[in-house]
């Protein structure tokens, strides 16, 4: 038997993983949710047929979206995670004892339920007492918050479907308002490689630089996302992601990580020329 999961990365490029078996399939109010087992990438989650995470490579995304800001911002006590119903970002956050509260805002309750059941590797820490899960539209949730969070992590799907409101100017502006005066926002920033993704990436960048005084982009290599070359945004009111980085602080923690380290932190902000050009076009 040959059973393959295929995602179109462009009209002319397919990405396929051989599936051992389908573990779950369901349709929520917002999207179709599927979980598969594969030999190469372990268990993986897709939403509306788009790859969200695999057990094999999710560490890259989740370490990079959490440890980068956590080692720039001092005194992070209150964190808001928007999206991220798989729990991967929360898993990395709860490693920091100084964090007192984490609000996770996920629009789709069914995603959280399914991940808790089938993906304990990422969802295992959602029951941490510091974590509150809110099932709400992220754009709506953040609208009424003012100077409340030290860090906002936007762990969204793509800029179409239920996540599209999280790529808008009004959303980034609302996040700015919801952050404390030294706060920062980190977001999933799409890929610079294929033109369709690059346009979304540029639009997001334009909207973020219009909303925040400091806005830098960093990269990571994520094998199962389109082109494998993925970007994150670091938008901040006060702290610069490289100049204010505390390498010694990170070493002192003694955390074991598989991707993130002090050299990666600085190096991730060094971008290829073509990416720099795409970003500068918007600046």
């Amino acid at each position: 038997m040959e059973l393959w999961f295929t995602e179109k990365h462009t009209d002319n490029v397919n990405f396929s993983i051989k599936v051992d078996r389908q573990v779950y399939s369901g349709q929520s109010e917002f999207q179709r949710i599927d979980i598969f087992d594969s030999l190469e990438f372990g268990r993986f989650l897709t939403l509306d047929g788009y790859m969200m995470l695999t057990e094999k490579d999710e560490f890259i995304y989740h370490e990079m979206i959490v440890h980068v800001p956590m080692n720039v911002l001092p005194h992070v006590k209150k964190v808001l995670v928007i999206g991220g119903g798989d729990g991967g970002a929360v898993r990395e956050l709860v490693r920091y004892p100084e964090i007192e509260r984490i609000d996770l805002v996920e629009i789709d309750e069914q995603v959280v339920e399914v991940c808790k059941k089938y993906l304990p590797q990422t969802a295992g820490k959602l029951d941490d007492p510091r974590v509150s899960v809110h099932y709400a539209d992220g754009l709506k949730f953040v609208r009424s918050r003012k100077e409340e969070y030290d860090l906002i992590i936007v762990d969204s799907t793509d800029p179409f479907g239920p996540g599209e409101g999280l790529f808008t100017r009004e959303f980034y502006g609302n996040c700015f308002k919801a952050l404390t005066e030294t706060g920062a926002m980190v977001n999933q920033h799409e890929s610079p490689f294929y033109p369709v993704d690059a346009v979304a990436m540029q639009r997001a960048h334009k909207r973020i630089i219009d909303s925040f005084p400091i806005s830098r982009v960093y990269q990571a290599h994520i094998p199962t996302y389109p082109s494998g070359h993925w970007l994150f945004g670091f938008a901040s009111k006060k702290y610069h992601p490289v100049e204010d980085y505390h390498a010694a602080g990170w070493s002192a923690r003694g955390f074991r990580t598989k991707y993130y380290n002090d050299k990666i932190h600085v190096g991730a902000f060094a971008l290829p020329n073509y990416v720099k050009e795409l970003l500068e076009e918007m600046e």
């Binding site: 539209d137 754009l139 709506k140 609208r143 009424s144 239920p162 599209e164 409101g165 808008t168 100017r169 009004e170 959303f171 502006g173 609302n174 308002k177």
Partner: protein, 482 residues
Amino acid sequence: MTSLSQERAPVLEALNRYKSMRVVPFDVPGHKRGKGNRELTEFLGEKCLTVDVNSMKPLDNLCHPVSVIKDAEALAAKAFHAKHAFFMVNGTTSAVQTMVLSACKRGEKIIMPRNVHRSAINALILSGAIPVYVNPGVNHELGISLGMALADVEQAILENPDAKAVLVNNPTYYGVCSNLKAITDLAHQHNMLVLADEAHGTHFYFGGGLPASAMSAGADMAAVSMHKSGGSLTQSSLLLVNGLSEGYVRQIINLTQTTSGSYLLISSLDISRRNLALRGKSIFQKVAEMAEYARSEINEIGGYYAFSRELINGDSIYDFDRTKLSVHTLDIGLAGIEVYDLLRDEYDIQIEFGDIGNVLAYISIGDRVLDLERLVSALSEIKRRFAKDKAGMLSQEYIRPQVILGPQEAFYAESESTPIKESLGRICSEFVMCYPPGIPVLAPGEKVTEEALEYIQYAKEKGCFLTGTQDSLVNHIQTVKE
């Protein structure tokens, strides 16, 4: 005709039958089902082009319907509780004009509020009828003009017993309704016809908890924009008739209507009527709920006022259409038109219109709560980023028109281009209006007043799109030669 059920769509069915016959076209239109215009077919789709066809026996003829269009119109009449319904393909403008032209001949009077759409006054230019304006009154806090107070209509009727008709907006652009039933009864007692401009009221025929429709109030004619809340294609509309002869109204329609009525528009009316008749009630229930939700969220932001039924005062706001999402913006120090521009330029959100003090977002069955969240959040951001002191903001006032000449006489009079600053006191021979909403500041035959000039100047400064004049920049206006 045997009575058809509302589940039928006679024009749609006829077009499908016609398509399946694969008739060879040696008639117009010349694109021949799209084959002669590849680029257009690629853009609009083959399905669309194959039904862009000419009138013919199996498809009936809009100018003189005898078969499927006749059946479809009968179904529409039934769905809207009218004696007859006409399918209109030149916009609700043509329906309003037909109402006026059917009711009034040259020199005859028609009573109407001044906040009518330009199409109504255009009809006066065509017919030569003379307007008797009723001051619709203004809510000073919001700067919106309202419905007509019953006593004001009565006074106009008593002062002009020879008037032939009363025209009523049901509702206004903002959703304000007059007491249509009482106005209708009063007008009928004085042998006047009642014409309703229901460009913004299609859903009244299908909603629970919505204001009374013109036909239910006993009005004689109503112009209904199916393409707004009804979901049909732009430019398609219905003219409903209760009290007049169908044949005479048809003659009036045919004075100006195309003889090549578009089957895209006609079928969209047929399909939309079916949809509304079968599902309208639940559709508009959902729309009203979405509007209510957005209103409460916007009012939560503070500074904005999304108004609704609390304005009802039993007279000039006899009822209010709660599917409308109108928001007063002056308290955050921004004109409605400024918020309208910011929403588009900064947030990629296009709303229906902004005027001096308000914006109107049009909510329909096509909307998703997801998108409402964007609108609300963007308004919240606009307040945070752009709010100013409200000092110096002009509120919209009712500009009392001084009608010196009939619209037709003034429009066709010998006129000259006059610098706007020198036009004070002269008789205007053209329209000046902001579009949208398309309610004239000055209409042909009216005296140019100080307040009108001040309003035009302010609207220009705030970035309203002024139109109606020969001079596209509105630095000159045409006035009657003295």
